[in-house]
Amino acid sequence: MGGFLSWLRVQWDRTAAVAAGVIGLLVLVLGWVGVSGTPHIAEQLPYFISGGLIGLFFLGMAVALWLSADLRDEWRELRALRTMLAGTDTDKAGSIGSAR
């Protein structure tokens, strides 16, 4: 359990992405239920706004968080690689350091 919580804490962005995706789908379904429950357009549009648009927002957030997590992992690996290469050659270390 402690390991799982630790994993959730480390992978906060992927956890949030999954949560946002689930919320988005749930809101979309609720919006669809609301829209299908009334024949009047004036009553359907609030469901479209609350269900459709908010669901879309959460799904977009899920995608953004997941892509951000992938980018951040790549950033971390590249940064570790840069540190590793800087340690193998002092000349390179100076050049790399001055490049930042």
């Binding site: 009047h40 609030p46 706004i49 977009g60 957030m61 950033w75 971390r76 193998t88 050659d89 390179k92």
Partner: protein
């Protein structure tokens, strides 16, 4: 410092904390994205509140437009954040790759590369990617050989550094 020791260090390094991390995951960036997302959500809430108070559907259309605009603003904020992250990663990649190519061709490093004779690619326990036998990211690790067929059939991704 030997490459194997550095590889072990890189493997042990914990995933960096959210706040205080390098750009674009610094606290300021995250707060900015959070504010834009909150503005979008508030806009949708206002649109929903306005639309639900109207009895005729033509009167609800402006509110629906407001909601769509609010979501668009929030999405653009998220996209801008992702684009900033992508630019940072590309910048770092451009910085590292020339040094990596030089380092791979340096005899002092090449001599420490642990190759697997006869293998098309290699991977190791805990890795999510497969590498060329001489890839620095596989150096010093207890690798196992992979054929092309095994690599294609596996769920492993290809390494972005040695590009097998």
């Amino acid at each position: 410092m030997s490459v194997s020791l550095l590889s072990d260090w890189a493997r042990r390094e914990p995933r960096a904390a959210v706040l205080g991390d390098d750009a674009p995951w610094r606290a300021g960036e995250l707060v900015r994205v959070g504010v834009v997302a909150a503005v979008g959500l508030i806009g949708v809430a206002v649109a929903w509140y306005g639309a639900s108070a109207q009895a005729d559907w033509p009167d609800t259309l402006p509110w629906a437009s407001l909601g769509a605009s609010a979501v668009t603003v929030a999405m653009l904020g998220l996209v801008a954040w992702l684009m900033a992250a992508l630019r940072q990663v590309r910048s770092l990649r451009r910085e590292v790759m020339p040094w990596l190519e030089t380092a791979v061709s340096t005899p002092s490093i090449s001599s420490t590369v642990q190759t697997a004779p006869g293998a098309d690619f290699v991977t190791a326990g805990g890795m999510t990617r497969f590498h060329q036998p001489g890839c620095p990211l596989a150096t010093g690790k207890l690798v196992r050989p992979l054929t092309i067929e095994e690599a294609r059939a596996s769920a492993l991704d290809s390494c972005g550094v040695c590009v097998p």
